[in-house]
């Protein structure tokens, strides 16, 4: 089949990007296990969550094609995480300040 005649309607990610992202995700998995087996003090959880966030960002941008999506789709994606942030920040603004004066 002549691929030029059947080019997709929308921007198509080149194949090598999928393999590169896949490799990065596997490296990230190895890295997060490696980091967890070492004592980083208070940094263990932040490091694990940072690696997970980078992996998630790679999946969203390239596997889920957010990088090629419309601005309206970007707003929906951003709003999801904004509300997730509100959920966490408001809840912890309560829980983390409850015990003041009792400790």
């Amino acid at each position: 089949m002549n691929e030029q005649e059947h080019a997709p309607h929308h921007e198509s990610t080149p194949l090598w990007i999928y393999y590169a992202v896949f490799a990065a995700l596997l490296v990230g998995t190895g890295l997060t296990v490696f980091a967890a087996l070492h004592d980083l003090g208070v940094l263990n959880t932040p490091v694990a969550l940072t690696i997970a966030t980078v992996k998630a960002a790679l999946v969203i941008l390239f596997f889920m094609h957010a990088i090629h999506s419309t601005r309206l789709t970007w707003i929906v994606i951003a709003a999801s995480f904004l509300w997730l942030g509100v959920l966490f920040v408001l809840t912890f603004a309560d829980y983390l300040t409850r015990m003041w004066g009792l400790q």
């Binding site: 059947h6 419309t70 929906v76 966490f88």
Partner: protein, 222 residues
């Protein structure tokens, strides 16, 4: 009149009548799926939030509970799921280029890898049951922190269970998509359904990317 005839002739069989063209239809479907995923992000977000609140209260029990997770199986399963995300992404890619057989086999590979993930998860669940770590009547685990470890295991089963339920639904959808791919429904003009299936599958992968360190890896260095 001639304009109408042209329109009729070029009308793609999968173009819904309320859309102008295939491009608009594709954008609407993608946007709609992301809106659904928004609700899913907040749905799982509630569980992650509750996990964080109780972990903040009972850190020691959370670490003790995480030590009962199988690190090797958890890591292997993460790799299996990431690989299934690659094959899903490739299925979307091949469907965009109208490569019917390649699309079909990538969907089959995704289904198989998803099934392997669920089988490994079942092996882990069985081990937890044998250890007496299933919260409720069969919880026989003994330690100073036992009641709080039971709470950790409740979060573990709720979070991985809800995730596994999404995997089962995804696997079911993949069977439907295998049939449609084999039939040759998808091509450069029309691949939105595969793209949307991909969005769902990758979302489930992202949930696991966070579940893995939070349930398996905390306090492992100790």
């Amino acid at each position: 009149m001639s304009a109408i005839e042209t329109h009729e002739r070029e009308h793609h069989p999968f173009l819904q009548h309320h859309f102008e063209d295939m491009g608009q239809q594709h954008e609407a479907s993608t946007l709609g799926m992301w809106m659904f995923l928004s609700t899913e992000i907040l749905f799982f977000g509630g569980l992650f939030l509750a996990y964080a609140v109780y972990r903040n209260m009972y850190e020691a029990a959370w670490i003790e509970g995480a030590h009962h997770q199988n690190l090797v199986l958890g890591t292997v399963n993460t790799a299996v799921l990431i690989t299934s995300s690659l094959t899903m992404a490739l299925a979307v890619y091949f469907s965009q280029w109208g490569r019917r057989i390649a699309t079909f086999f990538c969907l089959v590979a995704t289904f198989i890898l998803g099934s392997v993930f669920l089988i490994i998860k079942a092996v882990e669940y069985h081990a937890h049951f044998e250890e007496g770590l299933l919260p409720g009547a069969y919880f026989t685990y003994h330690s100073a922190l036992a009641p709080k470890v039971e709470l950790f295991m409740t979060f573990y089963f709720c979070m991985t269970g809800l995730h596994a339920l999404h995997m089962v639904i995804g696997a079911g959808l993949l069977i439907y998509f295998m049939r449609r791919a084999w039939r040759g429904d998808f091509g450069p003009e029309y691949y939105s359904p595969v793209e949307i299936m991909g969005l769902y599958w990758h979302f489930v992968d992202i949930v696991w990317i966070f579940l893995f360190p939070l349930l398996y890896l905390i306090g492992r260095h100790a």
